[in-house]
């Protein structure tokens, strides 16, 4: 996975979850980040869709278990439909 995509996803998550980006890693998840509840998860989905100009399906939203898997998902989608 390109570091650029992960950094962009991490910056968005940092903003939404109110957590410094330095405290977020690829393994960060709702289980490890206190503010990452269902409302913030939805906000993260909507922010990613807006930032990257894509639509996440229910199956893809369900794949967003960690920040790393989220970044991987975004990168895969970007590669399949380049901006």
């Amino acid at each position: 996975m390109a570091a650029g995509t992960f950094d962009e996803v991490r910056a968005i998550a940092s903003d939404i979850l109110g957590v410094p980006a330095t405290r977020l890693s690829g393994s960060s998840s709702p289980d490890t980040v206190e503010n990452w509840d269902s409302v913030q998860h939805l906000n993260l989905v909507l922010a990613l869709e807006e930032k990257f100009g894509l639509q996440l399906s229910p199956e893809e939203i369900d794949q967003m278990k960690t920040l790393g898997s989220t970044a991987q998902l975004i990168e895969t989608k970007l590669q399949s439909s380049p901006r």
Binding site: D37, S38, H41, L42, I61, D62
Partner: protein
């Protein structure tokens, strides 16, 4: 395994029971429970029914991780006719008790929007609740529906109203007010002032009230006569009302009564009243509710007076109602109901908000009551 949202079928019922057990076990909240039956007890789907409930579950292999309900119904929008829309209600996610399932709430709300873009939700307990925040994030417009109350037993109200007794000093003061009669005087004065402020010489009178009359042609006439006085309402014709309040409703589903109000031998309106289920925030009080009502604007006061008097005769300690339409709000004020802070929120999806434009800018002309949305059978 990926979570998939499916229509709730009988084969999911045992997994829903397990889901309920996990939610209640971890949260301790008895309200976190989804229907154990795949077939809705209230408003089951039926051939040619204009209004019905349908359930969906978020299936994760052998487990259910979330569920929601859609109440499919028809609305009248002044100048735009009839439209089929849906109410999104009872969304429940395992994310409430297990952050691993934080995505489920988003999946449920998005699935509901895919099913019916003309979507709304009602109630929710306030703007700060998770469901309201999620819907706002999805672009829903949120409007509080005014809340009205009338205290009939001030001493009991002061002793039992748990929501107001949050601080020890406040509880002591309320006990003192109840014991000395000062609270009685203050509450009666406030209600009288509310009534006087809005009293008009035509405040309804000379009406006859009948209990338990079946909705039929007379209700159709009232619907037709009054619908143009509102800018938006769910359809309340006789066919729909018979489904909303079936003959076995009171005995099997919720303790409500339907009142027909007449003057000079003609029906002028109707109201649905009932006693709310026990709720810790009301303590041991018997709480009556004016759940729903319909009439031409000139007869709104008579209908609210009739409903209030019927609940007074039932011996309730407090009457509550939510009403959006300014004429009905005025009728409540004339009947001595002060307005209180509302946590009953109307949330309209982007598409529904577009449909309601420019009416959305004046929600005081909407006719929304406690009976709309998921207001029945247990939450009125």
């Amino acid at each position: 395994m990926a979570i998939v949202i499916q229509p709730y079928r009988q084969e999911h019922e045992s997994a829903v029971q397990d889901f309920n057990r996990r939610l209640q076990g971890s949260s301790g909240d008895p309200n976190f429970v989804f229907s154990q039956s795949a077939v809705p007890r209230w408003l089951p789907p039926g051939a040619n029914n204009p209004v019905w409930n349908e359930f969906f579950v978020a299936v994760d292999g052998p487990s259910v991780r979330g569920a929601y309900a859609l109440k499919q119904e028809v609305i009248f929008v002044r100048g735009k006719g009839l439209h089929r829309i849906a109410c999104y209600h009872h969304p429940l996610s395992e994310g409430i008790v297990d952050r691993s399932f934080a995505s489920v709430g988003a999946l449920l709300a998005r699935d509901a929007l895919l099913q019916q873009p003309l979507l709304y939700a009602l109630g929710m307990g306030g703007m700060e609740r998770s469901i309201a925040k999620m819907l706002k994030a999805l672009g829903f417009s949120l409007t509080p529906i005014p809340f009205y109350f009338r205290v009939l037993n001030p001493a009991k109200f002061l002793r039992e109203m748990q929501a107001l007794r949050t601080e020890p000093w406040r509880a002591t003061l309320m006990d003192f007010a109840a014991a000395t009669g000062a609270g009685w005087l203050a509450i009666r004065s406030a209600q009288a002032a509310a009534s006087l402020r809005s009293r008009s010489p035509n405040a309804g009178a000379n009406f006859v009230v009948e209990d338990g009359v079946e909705f039929s042609g007379w209700a159709d006439e009232l619907w037709t006569q009054a619908k143009e006085t509102v800018s938006f309402a769910t359809v309340r014709d006789a066919n729909t009302l018979r489904l909303l309040y079936p003959p076995d409703f009171a005995s099997n589903i919720a303790s409500t009564r339907q009142l027909r109000i007449s003057r000079n031998g003609s029906a002028i309106g109707w109201a649905i009243i009932g006693q709310r289920r026990k709720d810790p925030k009301f303590g041991e009080m018997r709480v009556g509710s004016i759940v729903d009502c319909w009439a031409s604007t000139e007869n709104a006061s008579a209908v609210i007076q009739a409903a209030t008097q019927a609940l007074e005769r039932d011996g309730v300690d407090l009457i509550v109602s939510n009403q959006s339409h300014h004429v009905w709000c005025g009728a409540f004020e004339k009947a001595g109901f002060p307005k209180g802070p509302s946590t009953f929120i109307f949330a309209a999806s982007k598409k529904l908000t577009e449909l309601l434009q420019p009416l959305q800018e004046n929600p005081a002309s909407f006719h929304i009551t406690r009976a709309d949305g998921d207001g029945l059978p247990v939450n009125f």
